[in-house]
């Protein structure tokens, strides 16, 4: 019984982590007032870059290669987000359309870069802990994960602390709530938004490389298969709060794993498509419940999606 629960937990963590990584980044971006729909594209760019670097330097750098891969995935994600940022912040283009364009661009670019890597593999970027802990049937539920899992958990707590308990985070939130006032006070709105978008891109890149380096250590086109969109939904679902984001991410992860367990155990008296739709249905239900609690207006950052074009 215990093994069953541990196995299930390990699966849930595996499913949740990439979404959590990307959503954490997107949370910061949206808190600063920018809506970046290009998460899926940035994740794929990160995935292919991380894989390519880990493969190319796997022989020369050995165990360091995956770390380099993750760093490069973050840089690649940030670089692709800068494309979006330049269009949206400096040129004031429509954020929704530009974000979608970034998604499509990221899908295409990653396929192009990755076309030479199909059919190749790298060793999975697995646990750092010694085998006695990581492989142990009981302790692997804590120690058996890839470093990226621990990184994701650290980051969500760090981002939550940053947004709510630091001055810098307060400034970021202020820019997201009322960019004109923040600008009047003297805060650099555009540079801070650039930094936020870069952070979001880096996190999305790391989330993407989780797919190609940990979950299924290979490259296949469009291997994120829509997880970027789930990350976006998750940010909204969480009400733009870090604590709820963590809970929501694992909630989604449990639902997605539950779907698989239900099917495999023969409990799918409901059509399988219903199970696949479950996470999104639950998101709608929770949003309805949250909205009905009489919260005046939306919890979204007030300037979300509006271009900042100062008259001064």
């Amino acid at each position: 019984m215990l093994t069953f629960i541990i196995d299930a937990l390990v699966t849930v963590v595996g499913v949740t982590t990439p979404i959590l990584l990307a959503a954490t980044g997107e949370l910061v971006v949206e808190k600063s007032g920018v809506l970046n729909l290009g998460v899926e594209g940035m994740m794929l760019v990160g995935a292919v870059t991380g894989f390519a670097i880990a493969l190319t330097y796997g022989d020369s750098l050995g165990a360091l290669a995956p770390w380099l891969g993750v760093v490069c995935a973050a840089l690649a994600g940030a670089a692709s987000s800068m494309l979006f940022a330049a269009l949206v912040l400096t040129l004031g283009s429509n954020q929704v359309a530009t974000g979608l364009a970034l998604t499509i661009f990221g899908i295409g670019l990653s396929s192009l870069i990755g076309s030479g890597y199909v059919g190749t593999i790298i060793p999975a970027f697995d646990s750092l802990f010694p085998d006695s802990l990581a492989g142990d049937p009981l302790w692997r539920v804590i120690f058996g994960y890839s470093p990226l899992v621990y990184f994701a958990l650290i980051m969500i707590f760090a981002v939550g602390w940053f947004l709510n308990r630091t001055r810098a985070g307060l400034i970021l939130r202020a820019i997201g709530e009322n960019d004109i006032s923040a600008h009047s006070i003297g805060y650099p709105v555009i540079p801070i938004r650039y930094a936020a978008i870069a952070f979001g891109g880096a996190m999305a890149g790391i989330g993407g490389c989780y797919f190609s380096m940990v979950m299924t250590p290979m490259w296949a086109e469009q291997m994120t298969a829509g997880r970027g969109w789930i990350a976006l939904a998750l940010v909204v679902f969480s009400g733009w709060r870090a604590g709820r984001l963590l809970a929501g991410a694992y909630f989604f992860g449990v639902l997605m794993t539950l779907e698989l367990y239900a099917k495999a155990s023969g409990f799918s008296f409901l059509p399988s498509q219903f199970w696949a739709a479950m996470p999104y249905l639950m998101a709608v239900v929770v949003l309805a419940v949250i909205s009905s609690r009489g919260v005046a207006g939306s919890e979204a950052p007030a300037c979300l999606g509006r271009p900042f074009l100062p008259s001064s």
Binding site: G14, S115, A124, T216, M256, G266
Partner: protein, 358 residues
């Protein structure tokens, strides 16, 4: 001097106008254009990759006579119709639509373009200009089921499916029936992930099957992700559509390889000869279109022999996995004892055999 009547004038003019067209046919021999529509990326190392390999084999064998093009990642919804029509309008005379999910779209496009010929893979709707072709992958499933039946220690084997369509259902049933022929108590756990290609979900589903006690996993999806999970969990798996042993050197026992080259070459030749007719072919081991990848060294010799016997049985027609008595999940007898299921019943199969937990 012939009489310059109006009739003569019309005749000579007609010949004069037709001559360039006729001459061109005989003389320029413009290469035949063929189009291919794939549901996934050619980089999936599975279904679409195998079709593309066949297309490239055709290009190589008929170099200069054919020019082929393809469109990959085509979604299996209405958006496929403009893509198919676009291929036709680019001059492709024969278009292969390589997935069950393109069935209705192919029929629709064929209605609108009666001069173009189509061949639909893994479907069951025909038309005057639409032929059908498919491979009896279930023959390969019977081989891997036999292997699983011999080697499974837990008595639970897993099937990672995509959609509940006849193609997949017959695979599940063939896998289960052939395993049960070796070990009657075998049960198959089935997970449908509603996608042909989603490596992360395939990996999670394979993990779930392993968590629930499966020590053999076969997939009907297009990526090697499930095999990587098998390797990690130290259970066995089978490749799908291509030899995937490099992804799981210990876990990969064999694979069902799709070999489309010979078929595409023969159809291209038929078009060049002008003998193309809409057909309904379903090829298997006998025609060389289904092959098994080399066996893993870890497979015991007696299991290898059993598997080879099944293959030989398919080739000479003495073996058919869908031979009665076959009961469905409710216990009702679907195929009486000793009788073989007809092709037309297999092609629309939508029920699972007893022992499949779905």
């Amino acid at each position: 001097m012939s009489l310059t009547t109006r009739r003569n004038f019309m005749k000579t003019t007609a010949v004069g106008l037709a001559a360039p067209a006729l001459l061109r046919r005989a003389w320029a021999a413009e290469p035949l254009k063929l189009g291919f529509v794939y549901p996934g990326p050619v980089g999936d190392y599975g279904w679409s990759w195998a079709h593309n390999k066949g297309r490239l084999a055709m290009d190589e064998a008929l170099k200069g006579q054919v020019v082929s093009s393809y469109v990959e990642n085509v979604k299996e919804d209405a958006s496929a119709i403009p893509i198919i029509k676009d291929l036709a309008q680019q001059g492709n005379k024969l278009i292969f639509t390589a997935s069950f999910g393109f069935m209705d779209q192919t029929i629709e496009a064929a209605k609108q373009l009666p001069d173009t010929k189509f061949e639909h893979c893994a479907g069951y709707k025909k038309a005057d200009n639409v032929g059908l072709y498919n491979e009896r992958f279930y023959q390969g499933r019977a081989v891997v089921g036999t292997i699983a039946g011999h080697m499974s220690k837990t008595g639970t084997i897993g099937y990672l499916g995509s959609f509940k369509i006849p193609e997949v259902v017959m695979g599940v049933n063939a896998f289960t029936l052939s395993a049960q022929a070796v070990n009657p108590k075998i049960t198959t756990k089935l997970v449908m992930i509603d996608s042909w290609f989603d490596p992360a979900k395939e990996a999670s589903a394979a993990e779930t099957l392993a968590n629930l006690g499966c020590d053999f996993i076969t997939t009907h999806t297009d990526s090697p992700a499930a095999l990587q999970v098998c390797e990690k969990r130290k259970i066995y798996g089978f490749g799908q559509g291509a030899d995937m042993s490099r992804f799981a050197p210990h876990a990969h026992l064999t694979a069902i390889e799709d070999n489309w080259g010979p078929y595409y070459i023969s159809r291209a030749k038929a078009m060049l000869d002008g003998t193309w007719k809409p057909d309904d072919v379903w090829m298997g081991f006998k025609e060389g279109c289904v092959e098994m990848a080399p066996y893993n060294k870890a497979m015991p010799d007696d299991v290898k022999a059993a598997a080879d016997k099944i293959i030989a049985g398919w080739k000479d027609g003495s073996y058919d996995v869908f031979t009665g008595e076959i009961k469905d999940q409710s216990g009702a007898v679907k195929v009486p004892k000793g009788q073989r299921m007809e092709d037309k019943d297999i092609a629309v199969m939508d029920w699972y055999v007893q022992g499949v937990q779905s």
